[in-house]
Subunit: 276 residues, 6 copies
Amino acid sequence: MAIFPTDRPRRSRLVITGAAGGIGKMIRGKLDHIADEIVLSDLTDVSCSGNERSQTCDLADLDAVRALLKGGGDVLHFGGQSTEAPFERILNANLIGSYNLYEAARLEGVRRVLFASSNHVIGFHPRETLLDADSPMRPDSLYGVSKVYGEGLAHLYHDKFGIESLLLRIGSCFKEPSDRRQLATWMSPQDMIHAIERFVMVPRLGCPVVYGRSNNSENWWDNSKTDYLGWNPQDTAEVFRGKVEAATEVPSPLDPAVKYQGGAFVTADHPGTKEE
Amino acid sequence: MAIFPTDRPRRSRLVITGAAGGIGKMIRGKLDHIADEIVLSDLTDVSCSGNERSQTCDLADLDAVRALLKGGGDVLHFGGQSTEAPFERILNANLIGSYNLYEAARLEGVRRVLFASSNHVIGFHPRETLLDADSPMRPDSLYGVSKVYGEGLAHLYHDKFGIESLLLRIGSCFKEPSDRRQLATWMSPQDMIHAIERFVMVPRLGCPVVYGRSNNSENWWDNSKTDYLGWNPQDTAEVFRGKVEAATEVPSPLDPAVKYQGGAFVTADHPGTKEE
Amino acid sequence: MAIFPTDRPRRSRLVITGAAGGIGKMIRGKLDHIADEIVLSDLTDVSCSGNERSQTCDLADLDAVRALLKGGGDVLHFGGQSTEAPFERILNANLIGSYNLYEAARLEGVRRVLFASSNHVIGFHPRETLLDADSPMRPDSLYGVSKVYGEGLAHLYHDKFGIESLLLRIGSCFKEPSDRRQLATWMSPQDMIHAIERFVMVPRLGCPVVYGRSNNSENWWDNSKTDYLGWNPQDTAEVFRGKVEAATEVPSPLDPAVKYQGGAFVTADHPGTKEE
Amino acid sequence: MAIFPTDRPRRSRLVITGAAGGIGKMIRGKLDHIADEIVLSDLTDVSCSGNERSQTCDLADLDAVRALLKGGGDVLHFGGQSTEAPFERILNANLIGSYNLYEAARLEGVRRVLFASSNHVIGFHPRETLLDADSPMRPDSLYGVSKVYGEGLAHLYHDKFGIESLLLRIGSCFKEPSDRRQLATWMSPQDMIHAIERFVMVPRLGCPVVYGRSNNSENWWDNSKTDYLGWNPQDTAEVFRGKVEAATEVPSPLDPAVKYQGGAFVTADHPGTKEE
Amino acid sequence: MAIFPTDRPRRSRLVITGAAGGIGKMIRGKLDHIADEIVLSDLTDVSCSGNERSQTCDLADLDAVRALLKGGGDVLHFGGQSTEAPFERILNANLIGSYNLYEAARLEGVRRVLFASSNHVIGFHPRETLLDADSPMRPDSLYGVSKVYGEGLAHLYHDKFGIESLLLRIGSCFKEPSDRRQLATWMSPQDMIHAIERFVMVPRLGCPVVYGRSNNSENWWDNSKTDYLGWNPQDTAEVFRGKVEAATEVPSPLDPAVKYQGGAFVTADHPGTKEE
Amino acid sequence: MAIFPTDRPRRSRLVITGAAGGIGKMIRGKLDHIADEIVLSDLTDVSCSGNERSQTCDLADLDAVRALLKGGGDVLHFGGQSTEAPFERILNANLIGSYNLYEAARLEGVRRVLFASSNHVIGFHPRETLLDADSPMRPDSLYGVSKVYGEGLAHLYHDKFGIESLLLRIGSCFKEPSDRRQLATWMSPQDMIHAIERFVMVPRLGCPVVYGRSNNSENWWDNSKTDYLGWNPQDTAEVFRGKVEAATEVPSPLDPAVKYQGGAFVTADHPGTKEE
């Protein structure tokens, strides 16, 4: 049963996992207006500026994660494995890691988590299908399966303990789109910052699924069920179309990586277990 | 059975009930381009300008309402009780009043009514649910129940007698939003004027449900089923965000007035009957 | 906000309004297995047997309704006006009466009401449309509008005060079907008894809409959304088909009373107000 | 079973049927950037410029159509009968003609067709109903029925032979809207050009239904299921509203040509067979 | 616009096209209880019994079809081509033939037609997809496309002229199922008779799509939207399962004829035109 | 991309994991008619009869699982942890175990798996909501989250490697229902056997979600999307109602274990990690 034992405090503190990763680098130094203190966390220390400070943490170690969240605050959970990998890596970073994150949040009284999910939880849907928050899961990789699991954890901790999560199914969050598929899936760094702002500001978050993409002309994902959040991406991949098309081959419509939304993940070799 | 015995005449006349109320004041003097004569009606006389003239009318008196509608024309029905109130007040102003309005319309040959419904017919839906015209009713007050009833009357008079109605579920129609909830529910005066224009101009109105809100970033209501009307709100509450947030407390996500769309109506004391 | 302040007691008491009406007569004497005491109520005293006792009550009198519900228990609300009538009659019996019923329930601690709604809340849907609990309202009469209002009240008292209601949209509850339309809309007395049993027994009722009809071959209404109640009608109008068709004319498919689900209500004269 | 035996080549060639028709004239001379060679085809020769060349073809003659498509390339199929007509004309131009077009495409290895379908496949839906790609067909004319058939052919050749089609249900493609209905249905020539560009460029087309209209304020058609194509019309009929309303009568809301989306097609005389 | 100029008469006459075909043979001699006179029609005379009489008719000849329908009555249209065939055969029997049938119905005042459509209008849907009356068309053959067209004609003549049609998408109507696919698609002769009875008896038919299959355990088609007709098939293919499985090979799940609902039609050779 | 490299062989072999568990015991000795050889597997040896033989296997050991599946055949995967447990237990038995099962299936050429999922993947939906195969996941426990993950794995191995799975969300599979909730969730042993038969026999399985419950009067789950499987449960918990109600207390409708479908799982203590 959803219970909400205490009021939500103002943001005096924001914790970022995966601060050394691609998205972590992109957002560091740009969130001063959101919290008094920003804790950057990764396996090793990262450089800090302004109100940031660094705290190392191995997500596979529950005690370390509890220590990281001890001061409370909202969490941006960008840590863990963010591409396909052998099962052992997925197991430690994402299956055990996400459990530790939510369990530590429960034990330390954290009330709100931005969970970096991925379009790869729905990668085996064809491009012709417009998806929304309630579309069935069709993971395209072990990585995608681990995000299906992570979203399940988030729902459990919301329904049972009242911890709110933004399940952000990130498309391709880079400085600019680099292939034709990303003309549809690109999420600009600025639109990511704005999503984080809305995550922090909205009075009632709940546990919504949001697809992370800019306001691109080609679009596979319908976010209208979460209009209540007030997140309206402003950038568009269309301004990069000429550059991208000049630099890349015309793909075959017969290529499964074109047929399905997951792109190259769909056709990638299966990593299997490390031992193989 | 829907029957349409006569052609719809050009607008030589427009009748406004509740002309002394909040919305009435907002639109008076701004509708000359819509009709030759504008009849302003309320319990007491209101001041007029241009092509306006005043005619007092108690909505609880069928004969008076018939007299008001005798000259025909379209009706903007903003009259009646517009907030929660003891049952007797709701009964007279809205249950008897709305019946009198539609019955008089039938008897006097009025063909088109803008019925001021309210978001409080759906106030017990959570904010996370995007609603549209066919979402089930969840009134949050006796006032809301009276609007459920009024929409039912409008459908009956449409299906049986061909009287068309615009069921405008108004959010918060004020000069500007004054609390955080209104950042989502605000409907600007100018967008109200434009809705009235479309109500009058569209060749075939039918009996559609439209949510009355501006083009706000936070949005709980999907109007796409009534795109045929051509009403596209132009204003946005977002320009008032800074001002509103500076002036108001951060609400708790645990507050039912934050959880449900109806806001403070959901937690308001129940008025009961006058006698209590 | 839905609150449930106390546990639901076992049924020591069952109150029936409209006990002198058609359905009231049908079920009297058949509900001993459901409650220790059964209170039969109508404008005048009705004859009792077994554990029944009679208590007169004018639904338009809130004090009288409070007196009726003072002892608590579940309520079968079959009282009020059950066909089309002039507005004054509808107003007193159904608009004021239903409010008094729910307000008295709130004040006296009643937790569960079977609200006798009607197929006439959806009478202007064509027969070709299969309806379910969430289909939009299309009342075919002032009577139907009063039931739209009554369902709205029930939702308000559920969402705000936790009073559960079964919104039973009764088709044609008679000993047997008497015209061709009733081959689709008939609800047998035995299936009504069984619906009452499930209303009383189901651990969690909520506030569901259920269409009251037997297991007829011709069917316009889909109850599957309320399968959780466990109400499975056992009778069928089909066994009366030969008799009905022999006794009645072949109707024209052009007749609005055949086109729309509401039947003769759709084409009936409009009662207007008493004065006319 | 959908099979895709070969990769899709770059556009060295684009074939346009119906090049002498209204839309044909509109787009000629504006597609150089899309293909190396543009073959303009109609019953008689049309004038050419730039990389265009003309080749006559009677669509009712399979051999001629095969000759037209022999060089491969994408096809814009604007040929055939584009308004209501006696059955014989529909039969030859659209029933036999569309079959010949798709059969020739199969035999000559054409992989992609823009099939000019029409809003008249759904003309008997009321304006109040927002339609999308999966709305049931409701043709308003023999012409409309022939387009229902053409869309069926397109699906067969896609599912069985992998030929992709854009099923473009064109509204009113003219230089500007000329009556009040076209304020909703207008598709600007520039938006048509852009649709053709997207048809050619999108890596994977599939066999989608798209409604051909500009970004008009009044809108009956929801294209969001095909957002993946990246076609976002830029023009709007709204800029012509004043001119159109000044030049045309206020229509009656009782006119079936106003009630239904098909407009005058709905009330037009039935052509029957030529012999009558 | 749907208009219904005259009342529907009692069935004094029933016309059956395709009376010499498979289904025709099955139902001949079994419909005396439905009409005073039964006219059996095919290209050549068929033997008659009871109240039947024979009248030859080539469906490709409009005058002959008008002569057949001159006496009015309801029509069971089982005539035309009922399997895949070269385009010329489809063209004459089904494209021209169905037009002639409906045009003759209009000219001769016939008000009700049972149109023998086919599951092959949706044959390219996978078996895993439960279809209903509004599922998009996916024809698996030229034959299937001709039935898509026929359903379109039926809708046009319903919406414009008020002629009602039962669009019966027949599965496999034989004495018993003969392969594993027919364990799902079988429609027993007795269930066909009962469907014809309901077609004739229901006061208001409209223009519904119904899938013709018995009450089989394996089921791909949901008829609940047409429950109003009162057709409830009583037989089941399950009683033939042992016999069928003993007599047939285990099919491969990789076979497109197993993947898609259309079975062998999906993998059949394409007939092309006669000349090839 | 779904690929199906080889035909599916006849069942010469059936492997059952979790053969020593509750369901394993229920079905042992009852599946001779399904396969030539039945391999019973659990952590320790189980007693065999008929064509059964025992092979021990720790699901957390990939090599052992490969050895188990080496001979191919279909798999009934009832192994792993089947109730809530500390995370380490869930991790080994279900997260690692299910991966090993599917990875071994891929490596050893197994083509079909019955995956024992659970109603606890949707346990946080209220009872009033009728769920189907596409309802969003709402796990009520770490156990439930592990089944969300398992279903994700099954989809991945289906979409990428063509391994078919029946995702059977088992309700309460016992000899008879023992509490009031099980009057809705009970699945009889005989209906389980029949589900296994259909799993084995259906020519094309795909990867469907099926709710495992008998034909109970109270019902929360709609299986109609998988009617193509031909599984129609025959038993009903209703015959045990009297016995169950006599033996158990009337639950409070306020109890979350009554409000939500997951029952006692919803209110159970959170196991956390083993160390706590």
